[in-house]
């Protein structure tokens, strides 16, 4: 459990953005990197590894990892649907979209499908209010959601997962 050569190079590059001795500033960007490396979440072992890399006490990493919404300290499904439910999205029908996804996947917000494929989360404003309703999926936004679009997204995820498995 450690960064690959490429990831380590990226981590060093990130550290170099900050003044000498201020390597702690690279903590959040490097936690993103670690989370990617570990399939979407941060285990204690990974957090300890990052602490070692940045010469920090492990607690300094834990307290940060538990503060920020995007850092997961528990495993998630392969695809995480983060559906915005704040006012502007609500005005454009996000409640109905959340209901639809719940029904379609048979899970409630905060849950993962038994096959580990999908996690549904409700989240707060992601800055896409003019393109509502919307969700974040990995590092992209899916906007102007309708039940049909949700269907298409779910299908595309299933197909991608099957393709990856075949290879």
């Amino acid at each position: 459990m450690k960064f690959s050569e490429t990831q380590l190079k990226r981590a060093q590059e990130l550290i170099s953005h900050y003044p000498e001795g201020k390597q702690k500033s690279a903590l959040i960007p490097i936690l993103h990197l670690a989370q990617q490396a570990n399939g979407g979440w941060l285990s204690v072992e990974w957090m300890d590894y990052v602490a070692g890399l940045l010469q920090l006490e492990p607690i300094e990493v834990y307290e940060v990892a538990t503060f920020y919404t995007m850092l997961n300290t528990k495993p998630t499904g392969k695809y995480v649907f983060e559906v915005c439910q704040t006012g502007p999205c609500m005005l454009r029908g996000s409640d109905q979209i959340i209901d639809y996804i719940e029904e379609k996947l048979g899970i409630k917000p905060g849950e993962t499908t038994p096959d580990g494929m999908f996690t549904l989360k409700t989240v707060e404003c992601l800055g896409a209010c003019g393109y509502a309703p919307m969700m974040q999926l990995g590092s992209t936004y899916r906007e102007h959601l309708t039940p049909e679009r949700v269907d298409a997204i779910i299908d595309a995820c299933r197909k991608e997962a099957a393709r990856v498995q075949d290879n």
């Binding site: 953005h17 920020y68 006012g87 609500m90 005005l91 404003c125 209010c129």
Partner: protein, 448 residues
């Protein structure tokens, strides 16, 4: 008139060559080759430019507070943590025309003496961060970042720093904590960042749009810029319009457009979607007071309301609101103000950093009580309870998140109390249907 988005629809404007071909980096050349840092600050002061993140504080004045102790580095940090519900203008600017922000950052860094400048961008805008990083690499390759830029002797590098999902990091001292790799807990002020900011060094934190606006300020000169708009609302502003309108999106307006024109003209929002009527609007991001239709288009004095800092706040919180971040949220006649307010209370509860008890506890109570009223379990005394809770949060916290959580609830009760009462009196009916437009669009009688 467009200053920021003039070339936004030009194909390829995201890239250096196209941006340069359309006059890009001319203002940077002007500043670095022909002006002193002090002269740049002076132009920004003359322009009357005010912070576009929400507070509206004069930018030139903020810059003039920056301490300059000998031998200590100074930093400029760009606040791209855009998270105020209803606000998505900075995202549009950065993904469409990233070099405009970089040019503004270069000029501002030169003015303030910042050789390492940071863009703190919210983690969810991952692809925007990539666009910015590509733009930084391009600018560096063309000699607009790096060492001895344009032979001026000034060195500057811009670093893109990605956050990880926390509204509170839009508050400038929380942002600096986060930039130092810590939890986003706001700092007690003073000391202000201008004296003791990131890594204890003097720091200026400005919003994306503010820094981009420095480009036209230098381009046309502060005095010319100040001629646009009305009074102390100078220049142009990006408004992100959303909710129940025909054309949600980001619009650049001069700060003198009537609210009615902005809402109904085809140039902007294009009116209420589905031919419905306007019920209410939050004109400046979720934190600012909601106004019923009859107070949005006209002030309590009966004058047409304009999209300016002054006109939108005319009447104070009793009958006015704020321009804020420019997040323009529109509710049509079929929307429920109680439910909308509940979602905002839930937002602030989720985003409270937990440092101050009035905010940590109070935001949870607001959410819970509003949830009860919305779901048919409210008591009449809950309405006064909500008022009491919000009044005990406001002004009693380290940072403005407490106020931001209190104001939307206060304004909803102030203007829509009978909708709350109806919910309590008709719990079953309220689950079935919304209260509707009621009298909220009726012409108001102007006293005197």
């Amino acid at each position: 008139m467009k200053l920021l988005l003039k070339h936004a629809t030009v194909e390829g404007i995201r890239y250096f060559d196209t941006y340069r071909k359309h006059g890009g980096y001319a203002a940077a050349e002007k500043a670095l080759k022909t002006m002193s840092p002090e002269a740049v600050v002076e132009e920004v002061k003359k322009s009357g430019l005010r912070g576009r993140g929400g507070a509206g504080f004069p930018t030139g004045l903020k810059w003039s507070f920056l301490a300059k102790p000998e031998g200590v580095p100074r930093y400029l940090v760009c606040n791209a943590d855009e998270s105020e519900p209803g606000t998505f203008k900075d995202r549009y600017l950065m993904e469409t025309i990233p070099h405009l922000l970089l040019e503004g950052l270069l000029i501002s860094s030169f003015a303030l003496g910042s050789s390492s400048t940071y863009i703190y961008i919210r983690g969810e805008y991952a692809w925007v961060a990539e666009i910015l990083e590509q733009a930084v690499a391009e600018a560096k390759a063309h000699g607009f970042l790096g060492k001895n830029i344009l032979g001026s002797g000034f060195d500057c590098m811009i670093h893109v720093h990605v956050g990880a999902g926390a509204y509170i990091c839009g508050e400038e001292t929380a942002l600096l904590e986060s930039l130092e790799g810590k939890r986003g807990n706001p700092r007690i002020k003073p000391p202000f960042p201008a004296v003791k900011g990131v890594w204890d060094c003097p720091t200026v934190v400005n919003n994306v749009e503010t820094l981009a606006a420095v480009v036209p300020v230098i381009d046309m000169g502060g005095e010319e810029y100040a001629k646009i708009g009305i009074g102390k609302s100078t220049g142009t502003k990006l408004i992100s319009a959303c909710g129940n309108i025909c054309k949600p999106g980001v619009y650049e307006i001069t700060l003198d457009v009537p609210v009615e024109e902005f809402l109904y003209s085809d140039e902007y929002c294009g009116g209420i979607a589905g031919g419905k009527r306007l019920k209410a609007c939050i004109p400046g991001g979720s934190s600012v007071p909601i106004l019923p239709a009859n107070l949005l288009l006209k002030t309590a004095k009966g004058e047409p309301r304009l999209m300016t800092y002054e006109s939108l706040s005319d009447g104070g919180f009793e009958t006015g609101s704020m321009l804020g971040s420019g997040g323009f949220i529109v509710l049509d006649e079929d929307q429920c103000v109680v439910r909308h307010t509940m979602t905002l209370a839930r937002f602030y509860h989720h985003e409270s950093c937990g440092q101050c008890s009035p905010c940590r506890e109070g935001t949870g109570w607001l959410e819970k009580v509003l949830h009860n009223i919305e779901y048919g379990k409210g008591k009449m005394s809950d309405i006064d309870l909500l008022w009491s809770i919000q009044s005990h949060i406001e002004g009693n916290t380290i940072c403005p998140l407490g106020d931001a959580a209190a104001w939307p609830v206060a304004a909803a009760i102030r203007h829509f109390r009978d909708e709350f009462v109806w919910h309590v009196e008709h719990p079953d009916e309220a689950l079935e249907r919304n209260y509707g437009l009621a009298h909220y669009a009726d012409e108001l009688t102007v006293a005197g």
